[in-house]
C-alpha cells in the first residue's frame, strides 16, 4: 500500500530525497551549537578569554547560517515534494476514475469518491511532509545527541539511555491505545456528516412534517458521541506531555546531582554539564517527534488505504485488442443475454434469457413495472455493463469487439438520472459534439422542442446553467438532455424515461420530429406513459427480467395481459377518453 502511494511521487523524487538531507544538515548544526556553547562558557567565560568567545561565537554564527540554509531548503523541498505528491495522487485518481465502468462507479458512492480526492489526499500530503522533514530529523537528532553526550561524558550519558528506554515504552503504549480509539471516531464522523447532509437536502420534508426538534436531538446524539470519543482519545494522548516532562525533569535533577559531584572531583566541567543538559532536551524532544510521526502515520493509514482502493480499481470493461472502429448500422440483437449486478459476488440475475432482433431504423418501445430491468436492458447496448451470459450485437458485431468510444458515440443514451453541468446551454449541448456549430445546436434543440423555451430566455443559448441544472425545470432539463444526445448524430438513440416531466403534447411533438427527421436511427423509448410508446414499431413488455411480450400496440392489447392492464389503468377505460381519441 505504501509502495503504491510512493509510486506517485514520480518527478518529485529528487526533492523528496533532498529534504531529509537538508534536515540532517540542520540537525548536525543543531548538535554543534550546544558543544560550542559549552566551549564559550568553559574556555571563554570561566577562563576569561574574550578571544575564545569571539572565535567560537563566529563558528556558532557560521553553524547558524548553515543550519538556516539547511532548514529553509528542507522546508522548500519538503513543501514541493509533499504538495507535488498530492497533485499526482489527485491526478492519477481522477484519471483512473475516468476509466471506470458503470459497475465500478456503482461500487463507490459519489460522496466517498469526493472525500478520497480531497480530504484523504490532504491527509497524505500533510503526513508525507511531516515524514520527510521529521522522520530523518528526529532519529538523526536522537542519535547525534546521544553520541555527543557519550563523547562528553559516558557515565552521565547512561542516564539518558535508561530515560529514553522508559519513555519510549510509555509513549508507544499511550499511542497504541489512543489510535485504537481514534479509529472508532471516523465512523462517528460519517454519522454526523450524514445527518447534516440529509437535513440539508431533505429540509423540505423535515419542515413539512415539523420534525426539526427530532432531527436536532438526533444530531446532538451524534455530536455528543464525537465529543466523548475525542475526549477519551485525546485524554490518552495528553498523557504524553506529563510523562515527557517528568522524564526531562528527573534527568535534569539526576544529572545536576551527579554532575555537581563529578565537577567537585574534577571529572566534569561546568560548561560540559550545561551542554549535557541541552542534549538531554534534544534527545527527549526527538522522542516526542517520533511518537507524533507514529500518530500521523496511523491516522493517515486509513486515508492511504482509501486512496489505493481507487488507484488500484481496474475497469472491468476493457477495450479489445484490435477494436472495430465503425458501426455499420443501427441493428441490435440480443442472444440468450443475461445480466446480474455483482455477478462475481453471486448477485442474482436481473435479466435472463433475452433474445431480440431489432432492425436498423426501428422504433422500439419498452415498458414494464418498476424493477423489471428496463434500464439495465438498454445499458447493455452501449456496453455500460457487460452481459454475464449470452451476447449483445450492434450492427451485426458483438459490442465487445468495438472500440468503446466508437460504440458509445454511435449509441446515444439519455439516462434516467440525467445531469447538466455548469456552463452555458451551448457548452452543455456541445458535450454531444465538441465542434458543433450554433446552427447544429439550434437544430437539435428544435427537434427536442427545447428551442422554444431557450429562445425565450434573455440570454438565449448563452444562458448559464447552474450546477446540476438547478435553474431550469425538470421538463426543460430533460429536453436539453435529449438535444445533447441528438447532436451526436447516433445510429441508435435510447431514451430512458426521458420525457416523464415533459407534458404530453410536447412529448408527442418530440416523437413526431424523430419520425420525420431521423428515420434511419434506431430508437429505444422507455416510458411509463403508454401514449409515449404506443405508436412504436414494436413494444417490448418486460416483467421481472424476462420478455413477457413483444409486438405492436394493437397486438399486445389483444394478447398481452400486462400491457392491457396498464393501458386500461391509464385510459381508465371510460367513455370520455374514447371521445377524445383521434384515430
Amino acid at each position: 500500500m505504501v509502495r503504491r502511494i510512493l509510486s506517485e511521487v514520480k518527478e518529485y523524487t529528487l526533492p523528496s530525497l533532498i529534504t531529509p538531507l537538508c534536515m540532517i544538515l540542520e540537525v548536525a548544526m543543531e548538535m554543534v551549537v550546544p558543544y560550542l556553547m559549552a566551549s564559550i562558557i568553559d574556555y571563554g567565560v570561566y577562563a576569561g578569554n574574550m578571544n575564545h568567545i569571539l572565535k567560537t561565537g563566529l563558528f556558532m554564527v557560521l553553524a547558524a547560517i548553515v543550519g538556516f540554509i539547511g532548514g529553509i531548503l528542507g522546508g522548500k523541498f519538503g513543501a514541493v515534494a509533499s504538495t507535488g505528491l498530492a497533485r499526482n495522487l489527485r491526478k492519477s485518481m481522477y484519471e483512473n476514475i475516468q476509466t471506470f465502468s458503470f459497475s465500478n462507479i456503482d461500487k463507490f458512492s459519489t460522496s466517498s469518491l469526493i472525500t478520497r480526492l480531497t480530504t484523504d489526499v490532504t491527509n497524505i500530503q500533510n503526513s508525507y511532509q511531516m515524514i520527510l522533514r521529521m522522520a530523518m530529523r528526529a532519529p538523526a537528532s536522537l542519535i547525534a545527541a546521544m553520541f555527543m553526550a557519550f563523547y562528553i561524558n559516558a557515565r552521565i550519558a547512561r542516564i539518558y539511555l535508561i530515560a529514553v528506554f522508559i519513555l519510549a515504552i510509555f509513549l508507544v503504549c499511550i499511542m497504541l491505545s489512543a489510535t485504537k480509539i481514534f479509529r472508532q471516531a471516523f465512523p462517528k464522523y460519517d454519522e454526523l456528516n450524514e445527518s447534516v447532509q440529509e437535513n440539508v437536502t431533505a429540509i423540505r420534508v423535515v419542515k413539512a412534517y415539523v420534525r426539526e426538534d427530532e432531527q436536532i436531538s438526533r444530531f446532538k446524539k451524534a455530536s455528543q458521541a464525537i465529543y466523548q470519543i475525542f475526549c477519551k482519545a485525546e485524554g490518552k494522548v495528553v498523557l504524553n506531555g506529563p510523562v515527557m516532562t517528568l522524564t526531562v525533569y528527573t534527568c535534569i535533577l539526576t544529572i545536576s546531582w551527579i554532575g555537581a559531584k563529578m565537577i567537585s572531583v574534577g571529572d566534569l566541567t561546568t560548561g560540559e554539564l550545561m551542554s549535557l543538559l541541552a542534549y538531554c532536551m534534544n534527545i527527549l524532544m526527538s522522542l516526542m517527534m517520533l511518537s507524533m510521526i507514529f500518530v500521523m502515520i496511523t491516522m493517515s493509514a486509513a486515508s492511504a488505504e482509501r486512496i489505493v482502493e481507487v488507484l488500484n480499481e481496474e475497469s472491468d470493461l476493457k477495450n479489445p485488442e484490435n477494436p472495430i472502429t465503425e458501426v455499420k448500422d443501427g441493428s441490435v440483437s440480443f442472444k440468450n443475454a443475461a445480466f446480474a449486478y455483482n455477478y462475481d459476488k453471486g448477485g442474482k440475475p436481473v435479466l435472463e434469457n433475452i433474445n431480440l432482433e431489432i432492425k436498423s431504423g426501428e422504433t422500439i418501445g419498452i415498458m414494464g413495472a418498476t424493477g423489471s430491468s428496463k434500464s439495465t436492458l438498454v445499458s447493455l447496448i452501449s456496453r455500460l455493463y457487460d452481459v454475464t451470459e449470452g451476447s449483445v450485437s450492434v450492427g451485426g458485431v458483438n459490442v465487445k469487439e468495438y472500440d468503446l468510444e466508437v460504440l458509445r458515440n454511435a449509441v446515444s443514451v439519455v439516462l434516467q438520472k440525467n445531469q447538466l453541468f455548469s456552463g452555458t446551454i451551448l457548452d452543455n449541448l456541445r458535450w454531444g459534439k465538441e465542434d458543433a456549430t450554433e446552427e447544429e445546436c439550434i437544430n437539435a434543440c428544435k427537434m427536442a422542442c427545447a428551442d422554444e423555451f431557450i429562445s425565450r430566455m434573455p440570454d438565449g443559448y448563452n444562458t448559464r446553467i447552474e450546477q446540476g441544472g438547478s435553474n431550469v425545470s425538470g421538463g426543460q432539463k430533460q429536453r436539453l438532455c435529449i438535444a445533447r444526445a441528438l447532436l451526436k448524430s447516433p445510429r441508435i438513440l435510447i431514451l430512458d424515461d426521458s420525457t416523464s416531466a415533459v407534458d404530453t403534447a410536447t412529448d408527442a411533438k418530440i416523437r413526431e420530429a424523430f419520425r420525420t427527421m431521423i428515420p434511419g436511427v434506431t430508437k429505444f423509448i422507455i416510458a411509463q406513459r403508454i401514449s409515449s410508446i404506443q405508436d412504436a414499431d414494436r413494444i417490448i413488455v418486460l416483467d421481472n427480467g424476462h420478455v413477457n411480450g413483444i409486438g405492436t400496440h394493437d397486438e399486445l392489447l389483444k394478447n398481452n395481459e400486462i400491457y392491457r392492464e396498464v393501458y386500461e389503468s391509464q385510459t381508465g377505460g371510460s367513455g370520455d377518453f374514447d371521445e377524445t381519441e383521434v384515430d
Binding site: G84, G241, L246, I263, A505
Partner: protein, 634 residues
C-alpha cells in the same frame, strides 16, 4: 424543483473581515459553558510557567552556590547536603509544574471538544430554523463544509493557539523580568534580536498567509469541480467526455499545487528563521555576557543562567509565530460559522394554534389535553379579548395571490381558487408554469408578496407555522428518505405510531408488498437516501409517510410520476382512499390521474388560464383540450 438558486460559484473568500470580533465571539463561546474550567486552566498555565522558571533559575544557583565553591576550595571535603536540599526543593516545584500542566491539558480537551460540540449543535439548531430560501440559495456542499472543515479549525485555535499565546505572554513577561534583574545590557541585546526575529517572521507569515488564502480558494474550486464531475460521471461515460474533463481538472489541480507549494514553503521557513536567529541571539548574548563577566560586572553563574533565559525567551516568540497560520485559518472558519449562526431565521408571528377539542353541550368546542382526535384552531382575538375555536376542516382559499422568489420577478400572478373540505384540486400545465411553486406557499415555505391564503377562513400568516405544517401532508417531487429502518422512515410522519399503524399506512400506499419481500422487512436499514430501493419504492415510502400523518390537507407533487403504471394504479386506489374526505392538491403530468378531480386548474406562465371539471374543460376546447388530446394524437 424550479426555484431560485444563487450563484454557487461565489464561494466566500476565507479571510475574516474583523478578526478581533471573531476572536471575542469564540471566547464568548468558550466562556459560556467553561468559564470556571478556563479560569483553572489559566491558573495552571501561570503555575507551570512559574515552576519551570524556577527550574531555569536553579541553574544559576547550582553553579554559583554549589559548584563554584567546590572548585574554589579544592582541598576541603565537599559538603553535598545543601545541594541535596536545593535539588529536593526544585523537585517539588517541578512536580507541581507537571501536575498543573496535566490538569491544564485535560481541561483543555474538555473545553475544546465541548465548545466544538456546542457550536455544532447551535449551528444545527439554527440551520433547522432557517427558511427554505436559504437552502435554495446556498450550495449544499458549502453548508456541509461548515460543520466539518470550519468547525475543525476551532480545535487548533482553542486547544493550541489560545493557551499557547497566553502561556507565551506569561513566559515572556516573567522571563523578561528575570533577565532585567540578571543583566540589563544582555536583556537589551536579546530584545533587539527579538525585533529582528519578529520582522522576519512577519514577512514570511504574510506571504504564507496570502498563499494559504489562495490555496483555500483553489481547494474550493477543485472540490466544486470534482463534486460536479463525479456526480455526473455516468453522463461523462455516455458522452465519452473523459478527455476534456481530465484536461480541465489538470489545469485546476496544477493551480492548487502551485498555491499549496508556495504557502507551505513560506510556512516551513518560519521554523528555521526563528531557530537560527535564536542561535544568533544566543551568541551575541554570550559575547556581551563574556565581556561583562570579564570586567567583573556579573557572575559567571548569571551569564549561564541568562543564556538559558535567552532560550526561554526566544522559544515562546517562535511558538506564537508558528500558531500564526492556524489563527488566520481559524478566523476565516469562525466567520463562516458565525455567518450561518447570524442568518435570519424563519419568522413566525403566527398565534393561532392547533389544539385537541371535545364537544360539550351540543355544538360548543372546548379545549382539552386528551387525545380526542378532534382538532380545532384556537384563535385569540385581541380587540375583543375573546378566544374562539374553529374546527379543523381543510378549507383552503387563495385570494389574488402574487408571488415571486425575488421581488423583481413575479412567477405567480393573481391566483384565485377555493378548495372546500374534501375536494381534490388538480394543477396541470406545461413545465415551468408555476405548479410546483403553488405548493411552496400553502405551507409557507415562501411568503407571498400580495393577496391572501386562508386555511379554514384564517389567514395562514396568523397560524403558527408548526401547526400549519402539521395540518398539511406533503409528497414531494424528489423523495428524500433518512438513515434508519423503513419503519423509522414511515414513522417520520407520526412519531409515536405503533407497528400496526405503520403497517396499515404501508398497506394503504401499497408499499407493504415490497417491504415484506425484503429479507429484513420493516427493519431493513436504509442509507444514502434509500439507495438500495428503486425510485418507485422510495416514492411508495414517501406516500406511506404522508398516510400515517393523517392530515386534513394533502399536497402531492408529481408523486406518482415514476412509479410504473401498474403499481401506480394500485397506489392510486390507496391514494383515493387516503384523499377521501381530505382536501387535496395534486400536481401531475398524466391527465388520467387528475380526471376525477373536483376542479382542474390549467396553468400557463404563472396564471390560471382555465378552471373547471374535466368534462367542462374538454367542452371548452381550450388549452386543456390540447394538452389532453396531445395525450393521444401522436
Amino acid at each position: 424543483m424550479p426555484g431560485p438558486r444563487g450563484n454557487m460559484l461565489g464561494r466566500p473568500m476565507p479571510k475574516a473581515k474583523d478578526p478581533g470580533k471573531m476572536f471575542r465571539r469564540i471566547m464568548g463561546y468558550v466562556m459560556k459553558d467553561y468559564a470556571p474550567h478556563y479560569a483553572i486552566v489559566i491558573v495552571c498555565i501561570i503555575t507551570s510557567v512559574l515552576c519551570s522558571l524556577q527550574g531555569t533559575l536553579f541553574m544559576r544557583e547550582l553553579i554559583d552556590k554549589y559548584i563554584t565553591p567546590f572548585l574554589l576550595n579544592e582541598d576541603a571535603l565537599p559538603n553535598y547536603e545543601p545541594l541535596a536540599h536545593a535539588i529536593a526543593r526544585v523537585a517539588v516545584f517541578y512536580a507541581i509544574g507537571i501536575v498543573a500542566s496535566f490538569i491544564q491539558a485535560r481541561l483543555l480537551i474538555r473545553i475544546t471538544q465541548g465548545t466544538m460540540e456546542s457550536m455544532r449543535n447551535d449551528l444545527f439548531e439554527k440551520m433547522e430554523k432557517l427558511p427554505i430560501k436559504y437552502f435554495d440559495t446556498h450550495a449544499h456542499g458549502d453548508i456541509m463544509s461548515i460543520y466539518t472543515n470550519d468547525i475543525d479549525t476551532m480545535r487548533q485555535m482553542i486547544s493550541m493557539s489560545m493557551p499557547q499565546c497566553f502561556n507565551s505572554a506569561i513566559t515572556i513577561i516573567s522571563v523578561l523580568i528575570s533577565m532585567i534583574v540578571l543583566s540589563p545590557w544582555m536583556t537589551l541585546v536579546t530584545i533587539i534580536m527579538v525585533g529582528v526575529m519578529l520582522g522576519c517572521t512577519g514577512y514570511a507569515a504574510k506571504n504564507s498567509g496570502k498563499h494559504f488564502v489562495r490555496q483555500q480558494k483553489q481547494l474550493g474550486t477543485v472540490n466544486g469541480y470534482i463534486e460536479e464531475m463525479i456526480t455526473g460521471q455516468k453522463v461523462i461515460k455516455v458522452f465519452c467526455h473523459e478527455e476534456s474533463g481530465i484536461r480541465k481538472f489538470n489545469e485546476l489541480n496544477d493551480e492548487l499545487f502551485d498555491a499549496a507549494k508556495k504557502a507551505n514553503t513560506y510556512a516551513n521557513a518560519l521554523g528555521p528563521i526563528n531557530a537560527q536567529l535564536g542561535n544568533l541571539s544566543y551568541v551575541l548574548c554570550a559575547i556581551t555576557g563574556g565581556a561583562l563577566a570579564l570586567s567583573g560586572n556579573v557572575s559567571v553563574g548569571s551569564v549561564a543562567s541568562f543564556l538559558s533565559l535567552n532560550k526561554s525567551f526566544n522559544m515562546p516568540i517562535s511558538q506564537v509565530a508558528q500558531q500564526f497560520n492556524s489563527i488566520i485559518v481559524a478566523m476565516a472558519g469562525a466567520e463562516r460559522i458565525f455567518g450561518l449562526m447570524d442568518e435570519t431565521p424563519e419568522v413566525d408571528e403566527g398565534y393561532v394554534t392547533l389544539v385537541n377539542v371535545k364537544k360539550v353541550s351540543g355544538e360548543k368546542l372546548e379545549e382539552t389535553l386528551e387525545r380526542t382526535g378532534v382538532w380545532a384552531w384556537k384563535h385569540y382575538h385581541k380587540d375583543t379579548d375573546t378566544t374562539d375555536y374553529k374546527p379543523l376542516e381543510g378549507n383552503v382559499v387563495f385570494d389574488g395571490v402574487d408571488f415571486g422568489y425575488t421581488d423583481e420577478k413575479m412567477v405567480l400572478h393573481d391566483i384565485k381558487l377555493e378548495a372546500k373540505p374534501g375536494q381534490k384540486i388538480a394543477f396541470v400545465g406545461s413545465t415551468g408554469a408555476g405548479k410546483t411553486t403553488i405548493t411552496n406557499l400553502i405551507n409557507r415555505f415562501y411568503d407571498i408578496q400580495d393577496g391572501k391564503i386562508r386555511y379554514d377562513g384564517i389567514n395562514v400568516n396568523k397560524i403558527r407555522k408548526d401547526d400549519l405544517r402539521r395540518s398539511l401532508g406533503m409528497v414531494l417531487q424528489e423523495t428524500c428518505l433518512f438513515t434508519g429502518t423503513i419503519a423509522d422512515n414511515i414513522r417520520f410522519g407520526k412519531l409515536g405510531a405503533t407497528d400496526d399503524e405503520v403497517i396499515a399506512a404501508a398497506k394503504l400506499a401499497n408499499a407493504d408488498e415490497f417491504i415484506t419481500k425484503l429479507p429484513d422487512g420493516y427493519n431493513t436499514m436504509l442509507t444514502g437516501n434509500g439507495a438500495s430501493l428503486s425510485q418507485g419504492q422510495r416514492q411508495l415510502l414517501a406516500i406511506a409517510r404522508a398516510a400515517i400523518a393523517d392530515p386534513p390537507v394533502l399536497i402531492l407533487d408529481e408523486a406518482t410520476s415514476s412509479i410504473d403504471t401498474r403499481t401506480e394504479r394500485i397506489v392510486q386506489e390507496g391514494m383515493d382512499k387516503l384523499m377521501h374526505g381530505r382536501t387535496s392538491f395534486v400536481i401531475a403530468h398524466r391527465l388520467s390521474t387528475v380526471r376525477n378531480a373536483d376542479c382542474i386548474m390549467v396553468m400557463e406562465q404563472g396564471r390560471i388560464v382555465e378552471k373547471g371539471t374535466h368534462d367542462q374543460l374538454i367542452e371548452m376546447k381550450g388549452r386543456y383540450y390540447t394538452l389532453y388530446t396531445g395525450n393521444s394524437i401522436a
